[in-house]
Symmetry: C2
Subunit: 193 residues, 2 copies
C-alpha cells in the first residue's frame, strides 16, 4: 500500500479514505487515461466527495503522482546466469504486468500527458538502466541496449494490455517468454551489429 511521501508517524483516521481514493484513481487512470479519468468519477468510486480528493492531494496532478508509484522490483542480474538474463527479464515483466494496473495506468497516461512521459523516463533511468549495467559488456552502450529492451517490453504491453490486438492477447505466458527472451538477450549481451 503506497502512501503520501512522508508516512505519518501516527495513523490518521482518514487513512482508509485516502487509500480508497488512491485505489479508485489507479483503476480509473489505467482504464481511461489521464484526461478522461475525472476527479468526480474517482470520488464516486471511492464513495466520497470530490472535494476530499482536492484536500488530500491538492489537485489532479498531485493525485496522479500519489497514485502511480512504480517499483519494477527488477531482479539482481548479478545472480542470474548470463545466458538466462533475457528469459529472466521477460518473465519478470510479465509477472509485474499481469496483476498490476499501475503499469497500465502509467503507460496510458504517459502517452497523453507530459508529466506521465517524464515519469516513465525516470523509471527507465533509475530502475532499468542500473540493471542493464550489470549485464552489458561496454558501459557506453548501456543506454542504447536498455532502450532497445524498453521498446520490446513496452511494445508488448501496448499491444497486449492497451490496444488489445487479438493475437497478442491470445498468447500465453510461456509463448511470450519463448519468443521475446532471445530478443532481450540479444539486445543486452550480443555484440553490437
Amino acid at each position: 500500500m503506497p502512501d503520501t511521501p512522508p508516512p505519518p508517524p501516527t495513523p490518521r483516521r482518514s487513512d482508509a479514505t485516502r487509500t480508497a481514493i488512491l485505489d479508485a484513481a489507479r483503476e480509473r487512470f489505467a482504464a481511461d487515461g489521464y484526461e478522461r479519468a475525472t476527479i468526480r468519477a474517482i470520488a464516486k468510486d471511492a464513495n466520497i466527495d470530490p472535494s476530499m480528493v482536492m484536500r488530500y492531494y491538492g489537485n489532479k496532478e498531485g493525485l496522479f503522482a500519489a497514485a502511480v508509484a512504480v517499483d519494477l522490483k527488477l531482479p539482481d542480474l548479478g545472480t542470474v546466469p548470463r545466458s538466462d538474463v533475457g528469459r529472466a527479464l521477460v518473465a519478470h515483466f510479465l509477472d509485474m504486468w499481469e496483476d498490476n494496473e499501475v503499469l497500465t495506468a502509467l503507460l496510458r497516461v504517459g502517452v497523453t500527458n507530459q508529466a506521465g512521459a517524464e515519469r516513465m523516463q525516470g523509471i527507465f533511468r533509475d530502475q532499468l538502466l542500473p540493471v542493464a549495467q550489470q549485464v552489458c559488456p561496454d558501459p557506453e552502450q548501456v543506454p542504447t541496449r536498455a532502450a532497445l529492451c524498453a521498446t520490446q517490453v513496452l511494445g508488448l504491453a501496448l499491444t497486449r494490455y492497451v490496444l488489445r490486438f487479438p493475437p497478442a492477447t491470445a498468447l500465453v505466458r510461456q509463448e511470450i517468454v519463448a519468443w521475446l527472451a532471445p530478443t532481450i538477450q540479444r539486445y543486452l549481451t550480443a555484440p553490437s551489429p
Copy 2:
C-alpha cells in the same frame, strides 16, 4: 491528399478549407491525443470557425476518421529475398514514421480512445497480416508472428516518437535497422521456439 469518402467529381470551392482542417487536425491529434485536441484549437490552426469543422465532418469522431487515414504502403515481400524481409520491413516502417504525423496521431489516439484502438486493429488485420502471410511458413502461425512484429515496431514508435526516451531518440536510422531487423526476421521466419 485524403478527402471525404466519395471523392466529388467536381472540385469544390471549399476544398482548400477542408484540407486545411484535416492538416491541422492531424497535427493536433498527433501532438495532443484525442481528448486534448479540441475542435476549437484545430479550427484556430486552420484559420476558420469551429462550426465549419462540424459542417464538413459532422462531429469530432468524424473529423478523426477523416483525418487519420493510414496506408502503410507495405512492400510486396514476394519480391524480396527471404533473408532480407526483416531488414526491408524495419527500413520501411522507419521511412513511414519519420515524416508521417498521421501514424503518431493514430498511436496517441489508439491508447486513450476505443475507436482509435479499433482502427489500429483494423490496420493490423488488413495491412500487416496479408504481408506476413507471404513470408510465414505455417499459415496457422501468421497472426501470432505478425503480432510479435507489431509489438516490436509499435514499441519502437512509442519509445522514440511518443515517450521520447533519450537513448531511443538518439538512435540513427542505420542502428535501428541493424538492431531490429534480426528480431523481425526471426519473428517472421524462424522456426517457432
